[in-house]
Structures are given as structure tokens and as C-alpha cells.
Symmetry: C2
Subunit: 467 residues, 2 copies
């Protein structure tokens, strides 16, 4: 009888806990949807500040603005973490055309890839050789490539449901295209924009010259998908078709910038840290509303939502707005370096850097034991149609925190529209839906709440990390 009573008490307490978790999640979601701040912050970041490429005036203003807004939230600490970042500038607008017929040209939409060198003053004019990706280029004899403009035209694979997988399948032509083509003596690189739609926007993004000597570093630009189709047709009709482009971009000296950090200090375990973040920098073409304005304001709102919902975290919760994810990852590396130097024990880090679309769930970079624990929370998310809990990657900025004792996770929003806007001039505020953004913030806050409430110590002792 006594044991039965204890059993009853035990079950009752489980019941209470589950009930209070469900109630706290409900508070968080309701608060975000009726009283969220993420959309208002995003409006300022996008419409008042605009693009925020590392080292730009926009990036500087974004650091000031987000620091001020975090200070208004009554957190325990708000500070700037200095970090040196690369400064690349686009310069004058790019100009390009296809010589469709002798004496006749058709202007096309291109944009320099981030990190590219400029063209010579008179631009680059050469015959085009089209390849479907890096491997096809590597298989060509050097004399077929020398003196030409290499046109990488491998499209994203449309029948993959996760569009990030389609991106992963051809992003190397953008990142390493100029490196590989430069080695073979090409004079320029044009890359099909990493966009699943056919439209007129060129999509920029990072690229590398690796260890190439300066003499082999050739200018590299992205072309809109519509114009990639046009160029491909023209080259098929006449393989001697010439292409011309001119761009004025430059890599300048590194400048000082900052990660912006805010903290609610834990009431029970202040030395256990939970990080939630996105990256404050963006490319320069749109205003970076989806990439990654959304992740920034959602992460800021996680701390506000916890406070507003009357949740006093046991562990220290930090929002980190990382600088320079797009072209250097200096902010992410700096944060991890400082954390390591100080011996800070980060138990969990969550990043939102996949757009402000309806959240579907998370991917986790953690041990099986931790993952099984997380799966036990899945039902709590069912009322909010959050169903995706899988092992996988997390986020670029939190990647450097990876260790045997830190769980990493990435928010996974619906991915269908992301590459319509990614790194292009149409990544603007109007492309973000308020409710979708707010649901993402609430979903992140809910997971942070659960990691804070239950910790992960026991699971970490049970298992080693695998991914």
C-alpha cells in the first residue's frame, strides 16, 4: 500500500511536469503569435538598416541596433565581442552580355561572387565553354579551357524534397569553380545561380581561390537562371559564342567588427551555457531578411519569450548574433575560441539560419542517447505541427562549438521557398510572413526551455558522440 502511494506520487509528479511543460510551450507560442517582437525587429533591420555585409556600414549599424534592443530586454548581461572580419566590396554594378550575333549583344544579369577579384579595366571577353559541374570541368584537357570563360550550368536537382540537399549537390561549382578553372588557364567563370526557380535574379555567395597564385585568380560571377538558360542555348547554337563581363569588386584589409551577445544568467547552474543564435551579417544584394535577419530576430526573441512567459532559466541562456558567417565565419570561430579559453561549459547550441519560413522541426548533431531523450519531447510539439526531429547538421556559426559535451541543433523551417531568395536582391522584408517567423521563434524558445529544464548530463555520461 505504501509503495502504491509512492508510485502514485511519482506518477502524479510526472504528470505535473508534463502538464507544466505543455503549459509553458503554450505560453511561449501564444506570446510569440500575439505579442512577438521578432517581426518588428526584422522590419527595422531590413527596412531601416538594410544589407549587412561584414565590414559595411550596415553591419556596423546592425551591431549597434541589436545591442540597444537587447539592452531594453532587461537581460543580465549584454556585450560586444570584438572580431576582425574580411571586407569585400562590390563596387560599381556589374555589366555583362552575350554576343548573340556578329555585332549584336544581349545584356544579361550577373553579380560578382563574394571574394572574387575584379575584371581588368576593359572587362573580360572570351569564348564560352559550358560544363555541368566541377567534375565535368576536371575531365577536360587544359587546351579546351585555356583562354575561355567557363560556364558552370549544373542546375539544382528539382526532385529532392529538401532543397538544401539540392543546394549541397551543386554549390561546389560556385565555391571552387574559379579555383579549378583558374588552374586550367581560364580567364573567367560564370556560374548558374543556385536557385530552383527560373527568374531574373543573380544569386551571389562565397567562393575561394585556395592556394592559387594571384596571377591565376580569375573573376567569377553568378548569372540569373533565366539568363543561364539563354546562354546555354546560345552556346549550343554556336560554340564560338563570346561572352563579356565587367565587375569592380575588391578585397580590402580586414576591419574590426563584433558578435553581439546577451545573457540571462542561470539561477541553478550558471556555469552551464545554452546558446541560441543566427548571423548578423548578410550579403549585400537584398536586405538579408531571410538570410539571416530572421534567425537574428528569432534568437533575440527566444530570451524575451522565456522572460515574458515567466520562465526563470536554471542555466545561462545566451543569444549570440554572429558576425561574418557569409564570407569568413570569423564570428563563429571567435565565439568558440573565447568560450574554450574561458573553459565555459556549453551544453547546447541552437542556430536558425535556414530562413523565416514555417518551422517543421530540428536536426540534431548529438549522441544517440541525447537524441533519444529529445525524441521524448516530440509529442509536446505536436499541437504546433512541429514533426521533424532527425539527426543531421546544425549551423555554420555554432559548428566551432562542437565537442563531446555540446549538443548542436539547427532549426529546420519549410525549405521550398528558401532558394528563391537566397543571396539575391529579392531577399527582402516582404518575403517574410509574420506568423511563420513567429512560429519559428516560439519553436526555438520551446526547445531551449526543454534543454534548460532537463539538462543533458546523464546522457552525456552514457554515450559518446556520433553524427
Amino acid at each position: 500500500m505504501k509503495y502504491l502511494f509512492i508510485l502514485f506520487l511519482f506518477m502524479f509528479s510526472i504528470q505535473l511536469t508534463a502538464q507544466s511543460d505543455a503549459e509553458n510551450l503554450k505560453k511561449i507560442y501564444s506570446n510569440s503569435l500575439t505579442n512577438g517582437k521578432s517581426y518588428e525587429w526584422l522590419s527595422h533591420l531590413s527596412n531601416q538598416i538594410g544589407s549587412r555585409l561584414s565590414g559595411s556600414f550596415g553591419a556596423e549599424r546592425a551591431v549597434e541596433y541589436t545591442k540597444e534592443e537587447l539592452e531594453k530586454l532587461g537581460l543580465d548581461k549584454v556585450w560586444l565581442q570584438p572580431v576582425m572580419v574580411p571586407k569585400w566590396v562590390r563596387g560599381l554594378p556589374e555589366f555583362a552580355y552575350i554576343e548573340t550575333l556578329p555585332g549584336k549583344t544581349t545584356q544579361v544579369n550577373i553579380c560578382a561572387l563574394g571574394g572574387s577579384v575584379e575584371t581588368p579595366n576593359g572587362g573580360v571577353r572570351a569564348q564560352v565553354i559550358e560544363v555541368q559541374g566541377i567534375e565535368e570541368l576536371k575531365a577536360l584537357p587544359k587546351d579546351k579551357v585555356k583562354g575561355k570563360i567557363v560556364f558552370f550550368n549544373l542546375p539544382m536537382q528539382a526532385d529532392l524534397i529538401n532543397t538544401f540537399e539540392a543546394y549541397g549537390g551543386c554549390a561546389d561549382q560556385r565555391y571552387s569553380g574559379a579555383y579549378e578553372a583558374g588552374k586550367l588557364g581560364a580567364v573567367g567563370v560564370i556560374v548558374r545561380s543556385l536557385n530552383l526557380r527560373l527568374d531574373d535574379f543573380p544569386h551571389t555567395g562565397s567562393m575561394t581561390y585556395g592556394d592559387l597564385p594571384v596571377s591565376q585568380r580569375i573573376p567569377s560571377a553568378a548569372i540569373s537562371t533565366n539568363h543561364a538558360e539563354l546562354l546555354s542555348t546560345m552556346v549550343a547554337l554556336d560554340p564560338s559564342t563570346n561572352f563579356f563581363f565587367k565587375q569592380n569588386c575588391k578585397q580590402l584589409a580586414d576591419v574590426e567588427s563584433y558578435n553581439v551577445i546577451g545573457e540571462i544568467t542561470g539561477s541553478e547552474f550558471p556555469d552551464e551555457y545554452i546558446v541560441v543564435g543566427g548571423h548578423l551579417d548578410s550579403w549585400d544584394l537584398g536586405d538579408g531578411s531571410h538570410d539571416d535577419g530572421a534567425g537574428v530576430v528569432q534568437s533575440m526573441d527566444v530570451l524575451r519569450l522565456l522572460k515574458e512567459s515567466g520562465i526563470q532559466p536554471k542555466r545561462s541562456i545566451r543569444v549570440v548574433l554572429f558576425m561574418n558567417e557569409e564570407n569568413g565565419l570569423r564570428g563563429g570561430n571567435k565565439y568558440a575560441e573565447v568560450a574554450k579559453t574561458k573553459g565555459e561549459n556549453h551544453i547546447f547550441a541552437l542556430e536558425s539560419d535556414s530562413g523565416g519560413f514555417t518551422p517543421r522541426g530540428f536536426s540534431f548533431d548529438c549522441s544517440d542517447a541525447v537524441f533519444n531523450k529529445v525524441l521524448g519531447w516530440k509529442d509536446l510539439f505536436k499541437p504546433y505541427l512541429i514533426h521533424y526531429f532527425e539527426k543531421g547538421g546544425s549551423g555554420a556559426d555554432i559548428g566551432p562549438l562542437k565537442s563531446d559535451t555540446t549538443v548542436l541543433a539547427g532549426l529546420r523551417p519549410d525549405s521550398q521557398r528558401y532558394f528563391d531568395y537566397h543571396h539575391a536582391a529579392n531577399d527582402t522584408f516582404d518575403a517574410v510572413n509574420k506568423r511563420e517567423l513567429e512560429l519559428g521563434a516560439a519553436t526555438m524558445a520551446s526547445l531551449v526551455y526543454l534543454f534548460d529544464t532537463y539538462g543533458i548530463k546523464a546522457e552525456m555520461a552514457n554515450d559518446t558522440f556520433k553524427n
Copy 2:
């Protein structure tokens, strides 16, 4: 040993079936995403034809166009099913203002509700009484309402995750507002648009006068959410604030129109029918891309996707493009009436009428036994991130087919953005994403394929229908 061998054969055949189901779904999804027709059809329907209110020239052209396109698919039969439909016309653009100060007016955005009477020639000008929904109005004494314009301003509840639930919570003020206010002697009704966003678009929709005598039928219009906020503020500042509106809409005599039907006749059970459909009519303000151009083209593509994927249906699969869902449901009623007269055995009907957004799953109006069978198919949809399988409503057009032997289902896309566009001038082609639309078509085709392959006879004998 012999039994073991039979068991082996049996398990092997189960394995084969499951494998071939998975393969067929993969074919359907790949086909839709790489070679789908839905987006091209929607472009024509939206951009070339435009709005398709019952009885309008647009509706007539849409009937012709979709019949022609179905005929090109090489189906076994394509035909028009005549049905008489109401014809309501908006007439000249509406005009409205708030008398904000003596002698000063502020123009506001309104649109007549579908089915409303016009205002007198000189418009309606009266003091405003604001209520939060029908119940609040009913509680008022008649002399508080008589001679006034009733302003229904109950907003959609923002913290409901399913926005259709939020819609359901206040749609009665639009549908029955004029009926209830007319009974109390009001002279006009202004309803807050059923929109979760604050913006400038008024959202129309159906309304009723019920059994009210003509003398009590008062004009009724929707006001944009931004202007509903403004009106509410003005009335709070000064309860004697006057409002003026003029509209020129009219209900004309019924006209003949059509449901458009195409059929692949079943190879084994031609007398068992499966229906997939959406409604061809739309409201007159936008071009009805989400409501319900999306459902129309997805339903058309279901039959094409089955054919293209090399699937020969055992049962007869019909696409039905229903006329007049928005203001009469005459098409849905007619189809069910004819089916009943002919004694056609409809085993399954699926409707898409919730927008062309990323599909999340289905809701089913069926017995527990059938629902359990359907749940057995859920894993097949996991690669496509289709996770929502719940009992619930289906669709207005297929509702009249409800019987003990017909399973009804509705496609459930992500609902967050739907009411941004619903029945408003911004429900246009650019608001639809190609991949999201195509994923919906594939998801519908996959469910139709499974119902066709496995039927539902045994389950129907086991259980009676509950909802």
C-alpha cells in the same frame, strides 16, 4: 518446411508491394517536381483568364479552357455537367469614408460581401456601433442598433496554429452579420476582413439574408484590417462618428454553367469511383490563384501524374472541377445528385481547397477502421515530409457525397499564409510558389493511388461511419 516456404512467399510479396508503393510515390513526386503541369495551367487560369465568379465571363472561359486541357491528356472521358448557378455582380467600385472630424472625411477600403444588396443611390450614412461578433450584437437592445451601421470587429484569434480554426471562430459575423443586424433595424453592416495580417485589402466572401423580408435586407461590406483598426479608434474617440458607404452590387437571375469532369475508367473495378477535385469558380477581386485555382490544377494533374508514372488505375478516377463553391455550392450538390441518380458507387473523394501551399497532410471524414488503414500508409509519405493524418472535415464541394460508403478527405497545406490572400485582390499568381503547388499535386496523386490500389471494401463492412 512447406509452411515456412509459403510464409516466406507471403512476406516476400508484402515486401514487394510496399517497395512498389514507395517506388510509385517516388515516381509521382519526381514527375510533379520536374515535369508537372499544374503551375503552367495555373498561369493560364490566373493570368490569361483571371477571376471566375459564378456566371461571369471568366467562369465560362475557365470551363472551356480546363475542358480543352483535360481533353489533351488522353483520358477515357471528358464532359461538362450542366448546373444552374447564381449570378451576383459587384458593379462599380465601392466607396466609403469615416467622418473623422466635422467636415473632414477619411476614405477607407471596403468591398461588398457576395450576395449583398446595393446601397440606396445616395449611399448609406449613419452612426456606427461596434460589436465584437454576433453574440455581442444579439445582447444589445434594439434601440441601440436601429438606424445604425453595425461594425463587426472581432479579429481572428492569432494564437491558434490552424488558421482555419481562427477563421471558423469569426466567419459567422461575415455570413450572418447582415441577417442579425437587419432584424434589429440596422441600416448597414461593415465587417472586419477575415485576415490575420494588418493590411489594406478588404476580403469579400459569402453572406446570407436567411428568411428576412426584402425590406430588412441591408447592404453589407468588408473593410480592410488596417481600416477596421482606424474605424475602431475613431468610434472609441467619438461614439457619434458617422460612416458612409456606397456599393452597386446586384443579384441577377440564375444562369447555366458547368462542372468540368474527366475520367480514367478503371481496369478492374470500373464501377467504383474515386473523385479528386477543387472548385473552378473564384471570387471576383483577385484571380483566385490560391482559392481555388491551385486545387483545380492540382486535381487535373493528379490524373496526368498517374498516367505519366505508368500507373493504370483499377478503379475509375475522376477529376471534378466544381462550379459555384463560393456562393451557392450548386456544382457540388449537382454532382452528388447525379451520382446518386445513377447509383454510382463513390468509394473515395479528395478535395484541395486550402491554397497551394506546402502540403502537410490530410484530414479524413471516415470510419475508424478506414482511418486505421490510412494510418498504415503514413510511413510512405515520410520522405515527402507529409506528416498530418487526422480525422476531420474534407471539402465543401465533396461534402454532398457523404454517405456510409464514401471516404472523404481534404488536402491540408500549411495554413499560415492562406488568410493573407483569401477572397482578396492579392490572391494572385505571384503568391503561389511552383514547388509548393507541385508537392500538393503529388501528395494528392499518391493518396489517390493508394485508395485505388487497396480499395476500402473490407473496412467498410467492419465499421460504421463516425466523424
